[in-house]
């Protein structure tokens, strides 16, 4: 159900969160960000992932469930798909992911939450199709 099957080697101490969250999409995602702006890509790698994520007291699964909820609060930008996959890569079940999105209803209301569930459906449908 996740695309981390190719990550058989232990992730390096630095970049641990990034390696697991991005999984098989790592190089594609980093190349896309570098295409936008090399400094921006460097900040996302060095600060967001290799500093904030990697120094957290929270396990990666919990971090990614929180990340998904925060991205729903921002109107479900494309990053939501990356972190829905990231949460599954970090060990979350689909039911747990639905729990994180549903919790957005009382805090953010239905429209933001519906957009989050749509991103999840689009991701799961695409995964299903790949397998088919």
């Amino acid at each position: 159900m996740t695309d981390s099957s190719d990550n058989t080697a232990p992730p390096p101490p630095e970049g641990r969160a990034r390696t697991i969250i991005f999984g098989s999409q790592h190089d594609r995602i980093m190349a896309r960000l570098e295409g936008l702006d090399p400094e921006l890509a460097a900040h996302i790698q060095a600060f967001a992932y290799d500093t904030v994520y990697d120094s957290s007291a929270l396990d990666l699964k919990t971090q990614e469930l929180i990340a998904c909820a925060l991205l729903v609060s921002l109107g479900s930008p494309p990053e939501l798909r990356t972190h829905l996959r990231g949460a599954l890569n970090a060990g979350a079940t689909e039911a747990e992911l639905r729990g994180a999105l549903m919790l957005c209803v009382p805090y953010l209301g239905f429209p933001r939450t519906v957009a989050g569930f749509e991103a999840l459906k689009n991701y799961l449908d695409a995964q299903e199709k790949k397998k088919g």
Copy 2:
């Protein structure tokens, strides 16, 4: 460190999340909401807590860490304090709580996150003072 010490009886199957999150503040919080609007209070109890929270695949600690992050995204309204306490009541450590707030930095930026850490400091300082 939490104020749930008086919840010795097992929480009723309905209202489980609400009982643990609100802890010793349960009746005060519900009375305040009823003073604002009785229907609003009823919706928060019956829908937000006894339906959304209680039917989730997520454990309560994870739900409350997500709730704290979502409240930071909303500009840290007074509800943040309730759910910082709720996360601790549900078994989160202070370090985990700081991890949930810090994850807001890459997603929401510093000003929103600083406001979240201020709410945490105010809560912890007040707890310290009570004990003193």
Copy 3:
């Protein structure tokens, strides 16, 4: 101008707002929401429509004009189209709808409001085409 022409029978006491707002799109909209998540669909039906909307002191037209403005504040997600149609189904004129959107200018600024007027234009153009 509206698609409620098939609602000749009096709407049932429960589900009144939902029946009028969704109109001829009712079954399509509910099926789409169930495809996203059955619990989410149930909450939208039982809580948002059959509880909050149906117990309001406001008439449905006013509720829908407010809903349109709130959806503009959220960045005009797809739900805006549903409620532009819902406002017309509930008896609002196009001029009143434009009044609700225009009021967003002083409160939310031009970019959010322009997106709202674009959703209205897209809806009206599609209606015009159907008739043609």
Copy 4:
């Protein structure tokens, strides 16, 4: 229940919305805005009120109910109190005002809505005290 009792003369054709919404607070509010920035005050008067509000196809009561909901979406800044009073001045009942705020629950979630009901309670309590 409202403070428009002193508006016995018919409001001038220009500035109609402003005169009714601000009511007995008109001069105090305009002086406060001029103290912040004279151009800002001029824009609020000439553009927001005497242009957008006064040229609307919507009646003033509906406009003010929408304004209250939009201000809840912005986190209930001090302007909410002005427009809760403005809605009452324009003929809304307290029940209708509660209906407008409650509709924010499905669209914006509970924390934003609770803040709106708190602004309403503070306003109504202050009115009660004045009378006492």
Copy 5:
């Protein structure tokens, strides 16, 4: 690099900002806005541009860099493209534009900022293609 090459005549005292920002796209943009709502188009012209922009103590380049950052805060709606071009038309370099977008990282976080850089890339790619 900009499309203001056809603005050889001095811009009229009124509408100065609008003429420079919209550049060769002026008539297309105004026609699109009038197609949405003639009053909306009139407000954008008369109030936003010919009043707020034209009476500012800030030079137009600085105003447009601020506008770009504000549009990133709103989730990078289509208006961002207009003002990325507007900033270049007003004399900003691509490096300055990247500086304005990058400053959004500490204030708004990465997802909003990434969307801003994507709008910039799309604009620059389209310009490159035109030249090609």
Copy 6:
């Protein structure tokens, strides 16, 4: 009018933006942030100021005018005061600061902008009082 009078020595190459923006408040601000969370304080210093700000193609005055507008978009949290002072410390005039805030009207609407002007008035009044 600004509090940078004590910055007679050239600011060190690293920390340049931070030294000028915080001015005489530098140590107080950093101590307050460390009191909230030492890691958070370290990120603000090392990433936000000594990396993002210090590597920008924009001059510091323009950066601070943009920062003020972005903080208005976030609802004018306490950081706005720091950056109103920072903009003045970096050479902006009061008129330019008012221009940056006024530009928020067409993009964000009046309520957010009014809150920004209130922060400015509070800051200027406090400065006036100190001198008195």
